[in-house]
Structures are given as structure tokens and as C-alpha cells.
């Protein structure tokens, strides 16, 4: 691995003030009785930057995009009031399965992250960890006016105003809160974007990685995790 890809080690030594307990250097006894030192930030996390995956062949990419668009697996991660709009989406009345949308319990299996409403700084930290753990190609859908311009929390001390400064957003659904129908419209819009090849959020995140990280670190003052979690 080249020097410039080492994002965790290249920086000046991290202050230990905010480092989470589970990420501190510690001694571990192995099954054979031998003790060894573990530095979780280096040993448990990959310290490679995210890579841009450029589309290779136009025809194959078109086929892949069609396949991706027809099966959107949504992570069951709710922030704010919008998380209550998602369960009815899967009920018979709205039936999101018609659109190939289904919920998954883990970020490793899902391709869509729904930011469903206002994000406090504390939640943003979890949302970033979640987003980075998802596998490419991945898409972000942001619900409600809070994610667009702050909504009714525009002057709050702890709620971010714009999600697109911290994560690449593909589709915004306006409303306060948007109803499940609006969410379905958002899914249709997202599918159009994917099929047209415009939903390149993961690549954009990898390209402007430093800019996104600078924005995230500006407000998450107790950064106690690896720079890129996956």
C-alpha cells in the first residue's frame, strides 16, 4: 500500500481524548495463551481510501444499472420523524415491493440509505459510519425539508442544515414529513437516475473524500473512529 493511501497513519498522532474505549491500544490473550498487542484502528479497520470505480463498458454498465435500479435494498436506519413513514411503505396499502424495494437489517446488504429527517450531530456520526460500511454502488435518499435546508431546525445548535455537505445525496424528497406516496415517487426518481447512469454518489464521495471529511470533522468534534469505516 502506498504512502498516500494510508489515511490513518499519515496524520499527526491522534489525541487520545476522544478515542473510543474499544479503539484504544490494548493487550489481548490469544487462544494459545500468548499475549499480543492490538491497535484496533490499524488492525481491525482497513485504512485505504475509497476508490473511484469508473464504468468500464457502456453496454454492460447499462445492463448493470438496470439491474441495480430494479432491486433497491434499503437499510432500515431511521433518523428523526421520517422513520415512521417507512413501515407503512411496506404494508399492503403502499406495497413498496412492487418497485423492487425491500428493507435489509445491515448496511453490508443494502444499497440505499434513507436519511429520514433531521440529523443531529450525534446521529450524523452514526449515519456516516453506516454509509461508509455500505458496499458500492450505494445511493442516498434524503427526506423532508430538514435535510434540504434545515427546515424548522434551521437555527438549532445541534441539527445540521444540509446533508449534501456531509454525504452525497442522490434524491431529495420534499415535505415535512413526506407521505409514503412521496417516498414512492422518490424511489421512481432514484430509479430513473440510476438507469440514466447519474447516480454516482459513491464515486463522488471517493473523489471529494477530503472535502467531505473536512466538513464532517468540522462539526463532529469528538472524532473517535477511523477516517474511513468499512
Amino acid at each position: 500500500m502506498s504512502e498516500e493511501q494510508n489515511i490513518n497513519q499519515n496524520n499527526e498522532p491522534k489525541e487520545d481524548k476522544f478515542l473510543a474505549e474499544e479503539n484504544k491500544i490494548r493487550l489481548v490473550t490469544g487462544p494459545d495463551g500468548k499475549q499480543f498487542q492490538v491497535n484496533p484502528l490499524d488492525d481491525y479497520f482497513c485504512d485505504k481510501r475509497p476508490q473511484v470505480v469508473a464504468p468500464k463498458n457502456k453496454i454492460i454498465e447499462k445492463f448493470l444499472n438496470w439491474a441495480r435500479a430494479e432491486s433497491l435494498w434499503v437499510l432500515g436506519f431511521g433518523t428523526g420523524c421520517g422513520s415512521i413513514e417507512i413501515p407503512p411503505l411496506l404494508s399492503p396499502r403502499f406495497d413498496a415491493f412492487r418497485y423492487g424495494v425491500q428493507m435489509r437489517p445491515t448496511p453490508r446488504q443494502s444499497s440505499v440509505l434513507i436519511i429520514s429527517g433531521y440529523l443531529a450531530v450525534k446521529t450524523l456520526k452514526r449515519a456516516i459510519r453506516t454509509y461508509e460500511q455500505m458496499q458500492s454502488p450505494k445511493y442516498v435518499m434524503a427526506l423532508g425539508s430538514c435535510t434540504i435546508n434545515g427546515g424548522m431546525y434551521y437555527d438549532s445548535y445541534n441539527t445540521i442544515n444540509r446533508v449534501d455537505q456531509y454525504l452525497p445525496v442522490d434524491v431529495y424528497v420534499a415535505g415535512c414529513m413526506p407521505r409514503p406516496e412521496a417516498l414512492l415517487a422518490g424511489f421512481v426518481k432514484l430509479k430513473e437516475r440510476i438507469k440514466a447512469g447519474n447516480a454516482e454518489g459513491a464515486n463522488e464521495y471517493a473523489e471529494k473524500f477530503d472535502w467531505y471529511k473536512a466538513n464532517q470533522k468540522k462539526i463532529i468534534k469528538n472524532w473517535n473512529m477511523p477516517d474511513y469505516n468499512w
Binding site: F18, A120, V121, K122, K125, I148, N149, G150, Y154, D155, S156, Y157, N158, T159, I160, N161, R162, Q165, N215, K218, I219, I220, K221, N222
Partner: protein
């Protein structure tokens, strides 16, 4: 209610008293007497239910007002206990030994107002604001709008209207004011 208050005033130095409703009253006591008063109410008068602990910032008087609200399930009455503490050096005796959940309220007040409760469990850990390094946000001299504009990248073009004025203009555009 009157009987309880009469009993209270005879035992403790109650500086102020407001009867809010027939079943709700507020008493103001000195900082040193508050915890013993609350203990007395809980153990002898039967105010066993702790409703909430909150604070008000009286920036003009340089005071913080703490309000403990207790409820008596038997008598069906509420009693609020108000304590005025100094704003410059906000410290209050902890009440976490009376009800466990008080510790959570005290942790929140420590974070949001900067009121210290020495001895309360985990009171120094961050509660909602992780890594906050400004003045506590619920203090009235903290300007949330200014802080949000400096910190959270506000989107251009955001405006707001007074709903009454806006609808008047929209529905009756010809009408003069």
C-alpha cells in the same frame, strides 16, 4: 394542599409560595434547605413520584432557577420546589440518592446549562452533545442562530413569511392595510 404548605412553612424557611391550581403549588426555598425539604416530602408526606427537574435561566437577575416537581399519588397533588442558584458559580446538591432517574436530569442540566451537581453519577460525561466546546447551549446568552449559521452551511435563498400577512396578501391582494 393548604395543610401541607402550612406544615412546610413551619418546618422550612419558605421564601415564596404560589398556588397554581387547587392541586398544584410552587414553593421557593433556599439552596441549602432544598434537598432536606425534598427528602421530607418524599419520606413523610408521601410525595413519592419524581416528575421532573428543570432549569430556567434568569439572565437579568444573574440567577438559575431549578424546579423540582413532585407528585403524591395518594393525595393527587403536585408540588413544585423552586431553588434560585447563582449564575456565576452554578452548583447544586445532588438528589440522585432519592430517585435514580434524577441523575439523568442532572447530567442533562450539566450539559445544557452548565449547572454542576458534584457526586452525581456520570455527570461529567457527554449526554447528547458529544464533544461540545462552546458555552452550554441552553443558556440565554448563547446565540443558536448565529452558531448554526457559522457551523452548519445554511442554504442560500431560505426565507420566511409571517403566515397571517402572507395569506392576507395572497387571498386579498387589492385590500389596503
Amino acid at each position: 394542599m393548604d395543610k401541607i404548605i402550612k406544615d412546610l412553612t413551619s418546618r422550612f424557611k419558605v421564601t415564596d409560595y404560589i398556588q397554581q391550581r387547587p392541586n398544584m403549588a410552587y414553593v421557593t426555598v433556599q439552596k441549602e434547605l432544598a434537598i432536606s425539604l425534598i427528602t421530607h416530602m418524599r419520606d413523610i408526606e408521601g410525595f413519592t413520584h419524581f416528575v421532573l427537574l428543570t432549569a430556567v435561566d434568569w439572565i437579568e437577575d444573574n440567577l438559575f432557577q431549578l424546579t423540582y416537581i413532585l407528585n403524591s399519588p395518594d393525595k393527587k397533588v403536585d408540588l413544585g420546589i423552586r431553588v434560585m442558584i447563582d449564575r456565576e458559580n452554578p452548583t447544586m446538591d445532588s438528589a440522585h440518592h432519592l430517585w435514580q432517574q434524577v441523575a439523568t436530569y442532572q447530567r442533562e442540566l450539566k450539559e445544557m446549562f452548565g449547572i454542576d451537581f458534584p457526586g452525581s453519577p456520570r455527570v461529567d460525561e457527554s449526554f447528547i452533545l458529544e464533544g461540545w466546546d462552546d458555552i452550554p447551549p441552553y443558556r440565554r446568552d448563547f446565540d443558536t442562530l448565529k452558531y448554526a449559521e457559522e457551523t452548519y452551511f445554511p442554504r442560500d435563498g431560505r426565507g420566511s413569511n409571517d403566515p397571517a400577512e402572507y395569506m392576507k396578501k395572497k387571498l386579498y391582494p387589492d385590500e389596503e392595510k
